[in-house]
């Protein structure tokens, strides 16, 4: 069906404040009397706090408050599992854990004061490696994790946070059927989400005694709940005000420093701002989990996968607090099954406590790790079977009626179309342009998120429309998408639909942003609200005997009777139709045999999507995720030495630059079967996960070096080549 506005390449008219510098992020919020909070962090990975002396810090001119754990209630916080103190009490568990916090009018004075706090530590044995952490007799990071609120019951070792399992069929029986079995182990690195806005927040208590919060947090209502618990205040005493968020990529859903800011407000009576330095983000943010993943696959004579077992160890660091899923694990583990029909499957994922930085969610949590392992494994098996990697995949791709690892039954499966389109667009079967050049492919799929969102649509007396929502703008263009949906339904222009950003006072709840959810939940809420308003408008028009297009006239007529034409809709999607979105990607790389340096010569990404609402924003999501995947594949890594982060700036941890991006071909297979408005699906997490394995497979194709641990640095390729050729 032809749309007027849906599918049209409308520019980012939602971002005029962003290009003009007027957009007010949480770090830009200013309220009269504002002061600054700065944290002192632990220099040791595991130690008992014997003594803290803050007298010299308190004495520094300009210092308004210094707080340690003994000044705070014994509250543990978290997003799902509540195991993290506001400030370390008795014991520190990672380098970078907060042990004290200072308030001063001048941020540099506050920072200076933190250096005047004397802390006496008694070292405790630290455990850094996740495999060592779950060995018998290893140091225990938490004495009794089972006692924490939200802690999963199953705990094979005190350092295990959670065990996540996916089962299909009978895996032992499956392996007995197999003609050959293959087992490979892979590792992925510690990596930051890379948002350029460090966590920032402003907290104040207004004249009515209510706590006002501005924070870089994408789930305002969940934040209000978590704050209510952390601050021991009823929810109605807290208001979260929405601000634009300077990059989320999964990382902006926690409390971070907000409870400390509140306690500083409480003791100083002044509004408090806390902004993390980027060095603090790198030592104490909530980065992507490093992983150790072993896959074992049984294959029949004709190259059909009959069984697979997967064991994933996620190094979760010192606290589970940053993981939001009820499983206290990473859903991406289910990608151990790849995009393949595997009758007998067992996936087990263990999140493990160590004395490292606590990890959290990052764009498609757990998937880039698991898809790297799984899709590299697929190519290695194809090689052993002397099958073309594409052909091996063809023989095992999911089809209609198949089940995912989580038991989800699938329809509209376009795995095969997506793969073939990628192969064609990338000239996969054409001769390679030269030596040391290789091509590699990888596939993945991503579900469409669920959740619940409120929307209020109001017809103004000037004939324009206001859409009231409480979804923060994380940059994806969701606000523009929602305006397009409302404009389409009501037959007005996008410019005639304005967003009125609500606060947590204005709705009962909302699941917020994340998990490839917003176009679906926000879009449907806006869509149904707009449909209701349209019906009202038509009724009013009939009453007045004017055409339904005479919006201003209709609104004014209602206004004269003291009525506003306003409707609301609460959309709650607990699940949706059995559709997912497939991705197939092909990398063409050149390897420099003298240095091992990998250059991506061209990259092809193919996506099976629903109705595209805004092609510019849709393509932007693909390109952004893809380059994050490229960084994860080739250069991004937070390095540690005995638990201490040794790369504490973006001069050392490198993110891809404008000179590091490859020529890109994008193929979109549009198939309007999604649960979103106008049958949209999701795109935000579709392009990141397959990049690393596509490149790893291309590197192996180019030079025979198989890199099993990310990132694929020139050095790893160089020494792999050297070993392979027995060079001395």
């Amino acid at each position: 069906m032809a749309h007027r506005i849906i599918g049209k390449p409308i520019g980012r008219v939602d971002g005029i404040e962003k290009v003009s510098g007027a957009a007010c992020y949480s770090g830009d919020v200013s309220v009269p009397g504002l002061i600054w909070g700065k944290a002192l962090r632990s220099p040791l990975p595991h130690a008992r706090i014997a003594r803290i002396d803050v007298t010299r810090a308190r004495a520094l001119p300009g210092v308004l408050a210094v707080l340690t754990a003994k000044d705070l209630p014994r509250i543990l916080v978290g997003r799902r599992m509540f195991d993290m103190p506001l400030l370390a009490r008795d014991r520190v568990r990672f380098i970078g854990e907060k042990v004290a916090v200072v308030a001063a009018a001048d941020p540099d004075v506050a920072e200076e004061a933190t250096t005047l706090i004397d802390v006496e530590y008694e070292d405790l044995p630290a455990v850094i490696d996740p495999e060592a952490a779950i060995a018998a007799g290893s140091p225990v990071v938490h004495d009794n994790p089972g006692a924490y609120d939200g802690a999963p019951a199953e705990r094979p070792h005190p350092n295990v946070q959670s065990v996540l399992r996916f089962k299909l069929g009978d895996v032992e029986a499956g392996f007995r059927e197999a003609a050959r079995t293959f087992e490979h182990t892979f590792r992925t690195q510690l990596a930051h989400q890379g948002y350029l806005e460090p966590h920032a927040g402003v907290v104040t208590i207004d004249e009515d005694g209510r706590v006002q919060v501005w924070a870089s947090n994408k789930m305002p209502f969940r934040l209000k709940e978590l704050l209510s618990h952390a601050l021991q205040l009823p929810q109605e005493k807290i208001r979260v005000n929405l601000t634009p968020i300077g990059g989320d990529f999964g990382g902006k859903g926690s409390l971070m420093d907000l409870p400390l800011a509140y306690h500083l407000v409480r003791v100083t009576g002044r509004p408090v701002k806390m902004v993390m330095r980027y060095a603090e983000e790198l030592m104490a943010g909530n980065p992507r989990h490093p992983s150790v993943i072993t896959l074992r696959t049984g294959v029949s004579r004709d190259g059909t996968i009959v069984a697979r077992s997967v064991r994933a160890l996620f190094n979760s660091g010192a606290y589970a607090a940053f993981k939001p899923a009820p499983s206290v694990s990473l859903g991406g583990a289910s990608m151990g099954a790849g995009v393949y029909r595997i009758p007998n499957l067992l996936i087990e994922a263990f999140c493990v406590y160590t004395n490292n930085i606590p990890c959290g969610h990052a764009r498609s949590p757990g998937e880039p790790q698991m898809v790297f392992a799984e899709e590299s494994h697929m190519d290695m098996i194809a090689g052993e079977l002397s099958l073309d990697p594409a052909e091996f995949r063809r023989r095992n791709l999911l089809r209609d009626g198949d089940h995912l690892a989580n038991g989800h039954h699938l329809e509209h499966v376009r795995a095969s179309d997506t793969l073939e389109a990628a192969l064609k667009a990338s000239d996969y079967s054409q001769p390679k342009p030269g030596p040391w050049i290789g091509r590699g492919m990888a596939m993945t799929h991503r579900h469409i998120g669920v959740g619940f969102t409120n929307a209020v649509v109001r017809l103004e007396t000037d004939g324009r429309v206001t859409l009231r929502i409480a979804l923060p703008d994380t940059g994806t263009g969701a606000h523009l998408v929602l305006r397009q949906v409302v404009a389409e339904v009501l037959g007005v222009a996008v410019d005639d639909v304005a967003i009125d950003l609500a606060t947590t006072d204005d709705f009962a709840t909302d699941s917020g942003v994340g998990g490839s959810r917003v176009t679906h939940t926000g879009g449907r809420a806006a869509y149904h609200a707009a449909e209701k308003l349209k019906a009202q408008i038509q009724a009013e028009a009939a009453k007045l005997g004017v055409p339904a297009e005479a919006l201003a006239e209709i609104a004014r007529a209602a206004a004269r009777e003291g009525r506003t034409l306003e409707v609301s809709h609460f959309y709650d999607a607990k699940a949706h139709g059995a559709v997912t979105s497939f991705t197939a990607q092909v990398a063409e790389v050149a390897v420099d045999p003298q240095t091992g340096q990998v250059t991506v010569r061209r990259f092809t990404t193919t996506h099976d999507v629903g109705t595209v609402i805004n092609p510019i924003g849709h393509q932007g999501q693909i390109e952004g995720g893809l380059i994050q995947g490229l960084g994860f594949a080739l250069m991004e890594e937070i390095k540690t030495e005995e638990g201490r982060i040794s790369t504490l700036s973006l001069g050392d941890v490198k993110l891809p630059t404008i000179q590091d991006i490859p020529p890109l071909t994008t193929v979109i297979l549009e198939d309007p079967v999604g649960p979103g408005p106008f049958n949209a699906k999701a795109i935000g997490e579709g392009s990141i996960s397959a990049v690393a394995p596509a490149i790893a497979n291309a590197v192996a194709d180019a030079c025979g070096a198989r890199i099993r641990d990310l990132p694929i640095s020139a050095e790893k390729v160089y020494f792999a080549l050297k070993q392979k050729e027995g060079r001395r």
Binding site: P43, L44, T114, T115, L116, R644, S646
Partner: protein, 150 residues
């Protein structure tokens, strides 16, 4: 980080041992050490000025002799020191052993060093190089001092 360093000091083992067991004397051979005073018979307080890369550190701390085993020519020491201004410090466990070496006594120092806070930001490789340079100078000073019959 753990590392082992060895130097031959051109004096006989007994003299070197007796000298090494007197912390203030030894300290006078460590470049940058200032104002060493005894806290008790086995522990001492002092300060060490050392430059690591661009930063001039003034480390205030203590050294404690944890074990003296003349029979096996082995001693263990523990040092802790902090620099307030820069915000960081070091924790070191050192094991010294003396063995006969060509032209003198072979001093073997095994160190388990933890570098805390901002000082660590330069990475272990740099710290290790600095430690090597320190021991080099220390051994040299030790040699000359003992020859003056210190």
């Amino acid at each position: 980080m753990t590392f082992t360093q060895e130097r031959v000091i051109p004096v006989e083992r007994e003299r070197l041992w007796d000298f090494l067991m007197e912390v203030p004397k030894v300290a006078s051979c460590v470049p940058g050490v200032e104002a060493v005073e005894a806290v008790d018979e086995s522990a001492y307080r002092g300060s060490l000025r050392v430059q690591v890369g661009p930063i001039r550190l003034s480390l205030q701390g203590t050294v404690a002799v944890e074990e003296q085993d003349r029979a096996s020519w082995r001693a263990r020491m523990r040092a802790e020191a902090n620099d307030r201004r820069v915000g960081g410090g070091i924790r070191a466990r050192m094991s010294l052993t003396l063995a006969p070496g060509e032209g003198g006594t072979r001093l073997r120092v095994e160190t388990d060093l933890a570098v805390l806070g901002r000082i660590g930001e330069f990475g272990q490789a740099v710290i290790k190089k600095k430690a090597d340079a320190l021991l080099e100078e220390f051994a040299h000073n030790l040699g000359s001092k003992l020859h003056q019959g210190g």
